[in-house]
Amino acid sequence: MADEVLFDYLHMEMIHEFFNENYKKEGKSEESMTTLELLGFRVGQCVIERLTKDSPRFKDELDAMKFTCKDFWMSVYKKQIDNLRTNHQFLAFPCGLIRGALSNLGITSVVTAEVAIMPACKFQIQIQRV
């Protein structure tokens, strides 16, 4: 099984890759954040599928949210979120991860992140009701 540091290295390199590529093209940092967020989305969907494969359906939205914020996050990052950096580019992937997980649990949302005081990071999850 892959060692956990591998994901950190891959994450760093991924940001470096997708950020540089778009800068080379036209200096569009927006686009690369979207790319990173979409990658996180895709992965989040898959991870949540694997995690909840054998679990019963969630009672309600709140349950699903709680699961995502506690169990899902703990499994993925194995600790409280305490070593994400300030740059938003680093947060794009985790935002997508959460959004993807929720989407596959039937919740459409918008996830943003902000860092007020280091090392605290706040994720804002807004549920979209269509």
């Binding site: 892959a2 591998l6 994901f7 991924m14 890759e17 995690l51 679990s55 969630f58 194995k78």
Partner: protein, 142 residues
């Protein structure tokens, strides 16, 4: 209001899968961004290289291994220690060149390719090319 705790949430397994899934997403994105499989292979190699030059520090710190005396020792270090440490697999070392400066690593079950199927349209893609870059980067540092 208790709900059954999610069973079988083995942290190592989850982080391993996270890595595999993320890698898959990256390759898919690269295939969208670049025209040819060759280009993607190059990018993967480059990314791997950048990872390798950092990974080697981690490897040296955790393995406590001392300098290898010859290339055969190097091949063993990569296969039996490096791959084991990071990917949990032990590729077999084979196909030594007569001069002893070239060998092959054969991987039986590769965690990187879990859940992955390559379509015929991308037969030139070296899906695991990042591994080549990682080894190259790591070795260059020593």
């Amino acid at each position: 209001m208790s709900r059954p705790n999610v069973k079988g949430l083995d942290p190592k397994k989850v982080s391993g899968e996270l890595f595999t899934l993320t890698y898959g997403a990256i390759v898919a994105q690269l295939l969208k961004d670049y025209e040819s499989d060759e280009e993607v292979n190059k990018q993967l190699d480059r990314m791997g290289y950048n990872i390798g030059v950092r990974l080697i520090e981690d490897f040296l710190a955790r393995s406590g291994i001392s300098r290898c005396n010859d290339f055969r020792e190097t091949s063993d270090a990569i296969a039996k220690i490096g791959f084991k440490m990071f990917l949990g697999i032990t590729p077999s070392v084979s196909n030594w060149s007569p001069a002893g400066d070239e060998f092959s690593l054969q991987i039986e079950s590769n965690p990187l390719v879990d859940f992955v199927e390559l379509p015929d349209s991308h037969s030139n893609l070296s899906y695991c090319n990042i591994l080549c870059g990682v080894i190259r980067g790591a070795l260059e540092m020593v």
